[in-house]
Symmetry: C3
Subunit: 207 residues, 3 copies
């Protein structure tokens, strides 16, 4: 499948974009940014990871700039948050975690799959899955002058790594793409959600 006409990839990408647009905007609204800040952060969270992926693969201009659908989906997501937030008493933390897990999982899968389509090896494809999944959130956190969540709560990257690696494995062993995408994404979401419930953490080094 030529990468530029890969419908499954684009559909998965757009879903991830929508989830991250909503999650990013909600987090920005909760942090009391103004209207425009909410929209900007929503866009960056939604489009950042895929743009970093495409720049690294040399697939430029990135899909998010080549197609009208990406900014449109991001705008709808951020716009919905801006409207709904006026009446919301409270954003449940679990909603944010769920949106974040979904976007992370779908982007981890598209990052890994697109890397394989560009002939990268399995290790690099997994790395690119992590970068694509975590990239939007990292950009957002850096711009908000915070240490990225991915460094404070490593489980993001672990979950993305697992999802990306499973996708790579299944695609390499000739499984169908929808299956590989679904298994990778579900594994990533599962790890991410369970870690929150169980409050997993890794040990610090030394004393």
């Amino acid at each position: 499948v030529p990468v530029s006409r890969d419908r499954l990839l684009t559909a998965t990408d757009l879903r991830a974009t929508g989830l991250f647009a909503v999650e990013g905007s909600l987090a920005a609204a909760a942090a009391h940014l103004d209207l425009f800040g909410v929209a900007v952060i929503g866009f960056i969270t939604a489009l950042g990871g895929g743009m970093i992926r495409d720049v690294l693969l040399g697939d430029t201009p990135p899909a998010a700039l080549r197609s009208r659908e990406y900014p449109l989906v991001a705008a709808v997501g951020a716009g919905a948050v801006i409207v709904v937030y006026q009446w919301a008493d409270h954003i449940p933390g679990r909603l944010l975690t769920g949106l974040d897990a979904g976007g992370l999982a779908l982007f981890a899968v598209t990052g890994a799959a697109k890397a394989l389509a560009h002939q990268l090896n399995a290790i690099s494809a997994t790395l690119l899955g992590i970068i694509t999944g975590c990239g939007g959130g990292i950009l957002r956190d850096v711009l908000l002058n915070e240490v990225p969540t991915v460094l404070r709560a490593h489980i993001h990257a672990v979950a993305a790594a697992l999802g990306a690696a499973l996708t790579v494995l299944l695609l390499r062993y000739g499984r169908s793409r929808p299956l590989a995408f679904a298994v990778g994404a579900l594994a990533c979401v599962a790890v991410r959600m369970i870690s929150v419930e169980l409050d997993w953490n890794l040990p610090q080094l030394g004393r």
Copy 2:
């Protein structure tokens, strides 16, 4: 016009580079960075936005690295600040705002025009105008460990969006390039300067 030989684009780019080199260096000097920090920040502010633009468009190496003129202009701008600052009692805020508005406007216009020349759609061209205009300042603020001005004072991005959108509109409707560049840049500068005078702000969301 082949993008690489586009004289109007290059001339506009170089003017923006010079304005941002002076503005960035002045801001760094006012923040008490040392000599080298002033030069580095001047370079990053001046060259960052255009480099991000060119990387996103896949026009690599970026113009700022292909041509000797870009680093030369940045060096002259930063050098002038380093010399003059020794005798300056005080940097007027309005001077910084003016330099910033000029660089923002010219880069917003070249970002939008270059995106169209690479066959991007109108929305993406406007987005790229914003990214090009704000990119140098964002890079600078991130490196100085500050929340980028563009997130605190949204008017930057609004002004850049207006300038870029007007440029796109005029070029799409077949107006001459000098006209489209001039109208876009002037609109951007006007919004940016007026907003400072009137102290415009957008409302926060929720309570």
Copy 3:
């Protein structure tokens, strides 16, 4: 020499990658990041500069993603730190400085040489040497939410600039590549180490 089969370049790159992986992981462990944070920071420090270089040159996907050796070397470096750090009482500052100086020097040289191989001019090649040498550390510092060392302690960039400029000069005057690489790297290491011993600093501007 076709850039993609340039053995001396790759060998130098891999050495720089290893040095920075160890240095980055050690610094992260000393900052009390958890196990995963140490590995992530080790990877970013080791692979970041070269990836920025390759993206700017349009040589994508970057070498660090095209070849299995780069992530492998980074993993070995970070893994060694994670194992050894359990028993280390104390990380001598001079060890960190030495590792950092070595990685900086080797990356400054490969950045400059690869830029020349892509037909960039001498000024841009020197700039790219600085960016390649300092890029990994800058990415790391930005992610850890600190003002990059390169801005606080300019000597990094000065040393990288000297090493890169010497390499460019020797290559332009037809000297052999091993000689140009060695002289550039040694000059960079020398300046970096001596500056620490003598506690060099540049003056601030103004009052």
